[in-house]
Symmetry: C2
Subunit: 329 residues, 2 copies
Amino acid sequence: MRSSLEHHTTVGELGEAGILQLLHTSYQRLTSGEGVIGPGDDAAVIPAPGGNFVIATDAMNEGHHFLRDWPSGITDNGYSTGWKLAAQNLSDMNAMGAVTSSVSVALAMPTTTPAAWVFHFGRGIANACHWLGAPQTVISGGDLTRANTLATAITATANLVADPVLRSASENVAGFQLIHTGNVGMSHAGFMVASQGDHSQLGRDELQALRLFLRPRPPLDQGPQVAGIVSAMMDVSDSIYTDADRLAAANNLYAHIDPDWVARRAARLQPIADRYEADATQWVLTGGEDYGLLAVLNPERDVPAGWQVIGQLTHEPQERPKITGWDHF
Amino acid sequence: MRSSLEHHTTVGELGEAGILQLLHTSYQRLTSGEGVIGPGDDAAVIPAPGGNFVIATDAMNEGHHFLRDWPSGITDNGYSTGWKLAAQNLSDMNAMGAVTSSVSVALAMPTTTPAAWVFHFGRGIANACHWLGAPQTVISGGDLTRANTLATAITATANLVADPVLRSASENVAGFQLIHTGNVGMSHAGFMVASQGDHSQLGRDELQALRLFLRPRPPLDQGPQVAGIVSAMMDVSDSIYTDADRLAAANNLYAHIDPDWVARRAARLQPIADRYEADATQWVLTGGEDYGLLAVLNPERDVPAGWQVIGQLTHEPQERPKITGWDHF
């Protein structure tokens, strides 16, 4: 297999059976779970011992959500794309307080796509599940199709360890704390590096940001851990401001973000921001794709280990500079 | 909403929130099931009362799996694409003997895509679920993304009514009957009409074939009904020959297809085939996308109502003319 990959084989030359075999090999970081049927049949059967399951879908398309060649000279052989696709999807499971059970992968691609890209894409998915703390994840199957451009989609399922943690709390949460765990602004810093950096002379901090942009690390252990403790939760995929406002709006309240917390988090990123003549405060407040968790906590409870209080839910809107949120269209 | 659709609004003009509202409206043929959370949160929660669930993904991409304008002058406003995407995915659930519980939809599109296309695409999904006999299906959410070309993917989940019906039987099925229910060759006939017909002068039979090509009708009541009766099952998505061979191979046997059955089914399509100087026997044997069911039945059992015996599983390969199967690459 390796020798054929070295000879610039395309998926068109490999054919469907060859690509499936390649993907199967690439997935081998993950082993099939107990009680699971498939892939290989018309569909897979996945255990849902709690009598229900959580499900969400995410998509990433070339030219819009990923590139193979970044302006900085940084390249992705497919591994980072697979990793990021899985990571953002598992982050949705995390946000419900659930433990991922399976992922199903749709991959649409031109016949000219290098087979090696598919192999590394599959490796990225399997390794993200493994290293982010979800090695129990089964790759239940998916679909391989032809398309004019590379388009990927993934659907994760998960099992709940407690009641699902929704955005809307079942109690009055006015005055409750907003707490956060995970990276913030880091992915945006990495995006700047990938877009505008010089790949031949990146600092250690730039490399770290780049890595977290290309291969984000949602804290998958935290969601299930705080289920039953927090009153509401979501993951931060778009930005602290946008997502805190969504969480607040789901409870008919406003989000107040503590400027001191913002300043502390921005201070860590400012050395990178300086190199790009940018403002790290903006990165912290409006940068997306870090996939941390944002939750609502009763102030009478202890803040869980690894979380920070970043603000609170209030009846009055916070005075803020005008921020433009991310719209996928 | 309707008036804006009439003014050639694009999804780029509408923005993400507008598209979501449009899709929500288009889905209204289906109502949210009991015990279901979502869409609207990070993920949906779907009941799986049996302690497990069935899952499969399908994709369709413009230019490869669907067109908006066919060479014959026939057009699709998006409805048929949504219908077909859902129908083929629900057919996989049917093939496992399962009853669909949810679908999740990924839609990647250029900003220039007409908003009306998205609306009718959503209507097509909801109406396929409703009219094919799966009105209990919940549209659990999905993902809207930008892409250079229209790419769609859908993931269905389903509940089992008995043990899952796999391709590989748990007993020795040598000498068992191959039985089939559903259309055969019809979709290929419709493809000929869409590709080479003259839309202004189609016969009644051509219109029927065209309709079944654009909006296939998998017999969703049959899969769960024969679960526990048949020994193995799959849906016929690629062709009778290809899929019967797969079903046989999964049991280390060969498929023998009864030429008399083929002749009877071909006779129904030959009037259309004559108009395209084609051989209806080829359509029956190698045409795909009809989404009937193919199952293995113990000859001591009664053939279920609505099914036909089309051959048997044997130790010796059947002598056949050379057939080229469908490879997705």
